[in-house]
Structure formats: C-alpha cells, structure tokens
C-alpha cells in the first residue's frame, strides 16, 4: 500500500491520552460529588472527588503545552484564537472550536479544583473558613458544569480525529464512544493509582480515611468493579469499532486491517491495548473481585497488583491513542 507520512507523532498521541485522562478524572470527580455516596463512605467519596478534581486540569494543560511546544513557535499558537468569530462559525474547524473549548475546560477545571483546596488547613483564621465555606457551596454547581464539560472533552479528542474523511480509521461513528470509555477508565485508574500511593502503608491516614477502615475496603471493591466494568465496556466498543470498520466497504475496511492480525499495528494493538491494557487488568482484578463476590473473601490483594493494574490500564489507554493515531495516518483513502 501507499506509505503515508506520519505527521502526528507522540506529542499528539500523548496529548489525546492526557486530555482523555484529565477529562475522565474530572468526570469521575463530578459524578461522585453529585451522586456519590453519603454516610459511612462520605470521606472516601470526598477523597476520590478531590483527587479527580486535582488531576483533572493538569494532564490537559500538560498535553496542550506539549503540543504547543512541538509546534515550535509557542506564540504562533495564539493564532488559534485570533481568527474572528464569523470565521469560526462558518468554518467550524474542530481544532478551532476545540482550542476555545480546551481553554474553557482548563479554566473551569481549575476553578473546580480550587473548590477542593482545604483552605481551612492552609489559611488560618477567618479567611480560611470563608473560602472553605464558599468552596463547598460552589462545588456541586461546578460539578454540574464539569461533568458534561468533561464528557464533551473526552468526546472532543475523538472528534478531532473523526472529523476527517481522509483518515478512514478515524472517520467512524464509534470512535467518540471508544475514546470516552477509555477516558473514564484511564481517569479512574489515575485516581486509584494516586490514592494507592497515598495509602501505601497500613495505618496511613489521609484526612478522615484510614486504610484499615472497612469502608476503605468496600469502596475499593466498588471502584475496582467499576473499572472492570469499564474495561468490559471498552472491549465491547472496540469490538463495535472493528466491526463497523470491517463492515464498511473500501477505505475503512482496508484501514482497519492494519489492526487485525498481520496488519502493521496489530502487535501494538493486540499486545498493548487488548492484552496489557484491558484483558490483563480485567483478569487479575476480576479474580480478586470474584473471590470476594463469590467466595465472600475479604477484598484484599497484593500491593504490586494493586498498583500495576491501573498502570496497565493507563498504558493501554496510551497505546490505544497510539494505535489509532498512527494506524489512521498510515492508512488512507483507497481508490485512485
């Protein structure tokens, strides 16, 4: 086949991954704030919401920074914002809208994150109290804005790719779903990973949560279950993704062959995305989950696995972006 130049490399891949991750983390945080448990799991929920909120903007800012850095002329990037409004409306480039959107996301996510800062602990006196109170009041309304924003952000990372018919692997109606599910699972994994580092040793205390608390175990159990469910969802979506492409005639069909056995991206896809990123964590975590669910064992697992499963998921998420971004570029329209 015609060998196309790869024009979007690692910075774009990492950017898409990080943006998804940030969006996922923020979405999880917002969801927990809005619909999270109260009562005995209150503190755990608060911690997860906080971590999600803190993680949210960071990867997006880093990813965007990376892209701008890669462009080589940081100030040139401002051109993204200098075109006039009518141009934007009449020539709706996903990237143009996207840049405004990312800007909005970063601002909102940062404000949202600020609402989680323990002002009282940081600032003594009345100011701390006032800020804390105001933050708490703001948190839920902010979360209502943040959840759709974050989901939109996750979708945007896919739209950016899916908008171009010239890249048949991207130009599919399933990509947004795939990237959104992946955003959630990587976001959640990032949260879990961070808190695993926080609770490395038994007895570690973070706020009101202790590792020995039964509540801790139970939330862990739910979190991991959620993650496994997301993995299963992702597997289904990937199945759909391949099926859609495969059932399409010509270009998309041809493009998806790059992922199928024998294709150029097959190794990265089957090993990196499917095996390491999805099946492995699903099996390991599933094993411990089932032990608890079926045999009634206490939910407990070795720390190594405890940490490596989310890492594997994060790796899988990165590989997914890699496979899609590169695979989409090396395949193209067929027919003269």
């Amino acid at each position: 086949m015609e060998h196309h130049l790869i024009m979007w490399h690692w910075p774009m891949i990492v950017y898409l991954f990080l943006a998804g991750l940030g969006a996922g983390a923020m979405a999880v945080s917002g969801i927990v704030v809005l619909w999270g448990p109260t009562g005995e799991f209150r503190h755990r929920a608060a911690l997860i919401a906080r971590l999600g909120a803190f993680i949210g903007p960071l990867p997006v800012i880093i990813g965007t920074g990376l892209l701008i850095y890669e462009l080589g002329r940081p100030f040139r990037a401002l051109n993204l914002f200098t075109s006039n409004f009518w141009f934007m409306v009449l020539n709706p480039s996903p990237m143009n809208w996207g840049s405004w959107f990312i800007l909005l996301f970063c601002v909102v996510a940062t404000i949202y994150a600020l609402t989680f800062i323990p002002w009282k602990a940081l600032l003594s006196g009345e100011r701390g109290e006032r800020l804390e109170a105001r933050s708490e009041r703001l948190r839920a309304p902010m979360a209502t804005v943040c959840v759709p924003l974050a989901i939109a952000m996750a979708i945007y990372t896919a739209i950016l790719l899916a908008a171009v018919p010239a890249r048949p692997l991207w130009h599919t109606p399933v990509l947004w779903l795939l990237f959104t599910v992946s955003a959630f699972s990587t976001g959640l994994s990032a949260i879990i990973l961070v808190q695993r580092f926080m609770f490395r040793k038994p007895g570690a205390v973070r706020g009101a949560v202790r590792r020995e608390d039964p509540a801790f175990r139970v939330t862990e159990y739910y979190l991991v279950s959620m993650k496994v469910l997301l993995i299963i969802a992702e597997l289904v979506v990937i199945g759909l993704f391949i099926m859609f492409a495969h059932m399409t005639i010509n270009s998309a069909n041809f493009a998806v062959r790059t992922l199928l056995p024998g294709g150029e991206m097959a190794t990265a896809f089957w090993l990196g995305v499917i095996l390491v990123g999805l099946l492995l964590p699903a099996f390991i975590e599933g094993f411990y989950l089932l032990r608890t669910a079926v045999l009634g064992h206490e939910f407990e697992w070795p720390y190594v696995i405890n940490v490596s499963a989310p890492i594997a998921i994060l790796f899988g998420g990165l590989m997914l972006r890699y496979v899609i971004v590169v695979g989409g570029q090396i395949t193209g329209p067929i027919g003269i």
Binding site: W8, P165, G335, I336
Partner: protein, 258 residues
C-alpha cells in the same frame, strides 16, 4: 503575529463557501465508463461564469512518467529533501506477458470543496477569491498539520525548513505573472495543461469539455480542479487475490516497494 491580525477578512472565503456548496450540488457529475469515473465538469453553466478557477488538466496519454515535473517543482520553490509537492506514481499490473505500467502525476487538486480549508483552525489555508487556488498563508499557519490529515490526496506536508504546512500552490508566483506553472513548463509531452477551467475560451476548458475526464477520489466530495484524461483507477489496495499490482509512488521518503 502582527501579520495575522492584519489579515483582511475578505481573503477568507467564508461567504463564498456557502454559495459554492449549492453550485456543487447543481453540477454533480454522472457516472462514467469502466476506465474513468466521469468527473464533475467545471461550473460554467451554473451561474458562476465570472469566477476564475485555475486548474490543471493532465492528459495521461501524453505522460511518459519522466518525472521532469517532479524535479521542476522541487527546483521552483526549493522544496526541501524528503518531501514533495508533486510526484508521479507508477502503477504496474498484469500477468506476463500482458503487463502494463501507467503513470499518474500528482499535485494539489485545488479543490472547490477543500477539506484542508475546512479543518484549518487559523484560516491560514484559504481559497483565493480571485482564482480559486488553495494557498497557505505562512504568516498565519501554526504548523498543526490538521490540514494534512484532512486532505484525501496526501498533498500536504510539514516543510522541514519553514516548519509550516506546505503543498503545491499552483506556482502562484508564476501564474499571477502570466506564466504557466513550472511543472507545466517542463512537461515534454504537453501532458499538463494549465488554465482557467471556467473560461470557455481557454484551452483547458475546451479540452475538458471535449474529452472524457475524471478527477481523483470523487466520492470524497472535494471537487478537485485537477482533471485527468485516461485515468486508470487501478489501486493496489483493491486488487483481487492473485492479481499483480505494484504501485510505486515515487514520493520522497515513501518510495516503499511492495
């Protein structure tokens, strides 16, 4: 930065873009023979008589695959090594002794519905109202290469020297002074004809009107302004099992053999 803010709005073809969409529907082509899909012919009859639309007709019967155009193009704008604005693909197919090789010169199609313009986030890529050519304002471009992803013809690349998007600009520095593009100038077969496709008096218009012409990848809806006579639509990727087809793109850096 200052140049981008000084950019006149009129240069961006946003209003024209709307009216063109309608024209496109009105002139959509009919299906052709096995050899070539009938291309959408220029929009002369569709009330756009006055619109100048520069384009090119490549008469593949006259093309001997000599690559003079490829190198002329390199030289004209000193296009850096490793990237190409124009190239000539070789398509070899058949079974001994009935084997053929056809030649397919490639350049930017200066599409009337250019995907590259649609995705460009800055307006750096735009259609020139005066002649319909799709060009890149390097004072505005940020080098994001979204346009390169969007072009169904793989015409765009990152210029490794300027670090901006680059592609065939139909040699505007020549054609605006009344000279044919460099690749046309050198073509010994006179396979490449340049001109205003909407001008009924032009050679290119007449040739398009008189010959069965085709454009590349018409289904993408880009409405190319580069027309071909005798386009062989064989593509390596669509070959049947056991059929020998070898496409050598002769594009810099991607001269991969299969």
């Amino acid at each position: 930065m200052s140049d981008s803010s000084a950019k006149p709005v009129s240069r961006r073809k946003f209003l024209k873009g709307l009216s063109q969409g309608a024209a496109a529907v009105a002139t959509a082509g009919v299906a052709g023979g096995a050899m070539h899909a009938a291309a959408t012919k220029p929009a002369t009859e569709s009330g756009e008589k006055n619109k100048v639309q520069y384009g090119m007709l490549i008469d593949l019967r006259r093309c001997i695959g000599c690559q003079a155009c490829t190198v002329a193009c390199k030289a004209e704008a000193d296009v850096p090594m490793g990237v190409s604005r124009s190239w000539v693909e070789y398509v070899e197919k058949g079974r001994y002794p009935n084997v053929g090789r056809s030649f397919l010169p490639r350049l930017c199609n200066h599409c009337s519905e250019p995907h590259c313009v649609r995705v460009c986030p800055t307006g750096a890529t735009y259609e020139r109202p005066q002649d319909g050519l799709i060009v890149i304002d390097q004072g505005v471009c940020i080098g994001c290469l979204y346009c390169a992803q969007a072009c169904p013809y793989d015409m765009r690349f990152l210029n490794p020297v300027t670090r901006f998007a680059d592609k065939c600009d139909m040699c505007i520095h020549r054609v605006s002074k009344g000279l044919v593009p460099s690749c046309v100038n050198t073509c010994q077969g006179r396979a490449r004809i340049f001109g205003d496709v909407n001008d009924p008096g032009s050679e290119i218009h007449k040739l398009i009107a008189r010959n069965p012409v085709a454009v590349m990848r018409e289904t993408y809806g880009t409405q190319p302004n580069v027309y071909y006579i005798g386009l062989d639509t064989t593509d390596e990727n669509t070959r049947k099992p056991g059929q020998y087809v070898r496409v050598t793109t002769n594009k810099a850096r991607s001269t991969k053999r299969t």
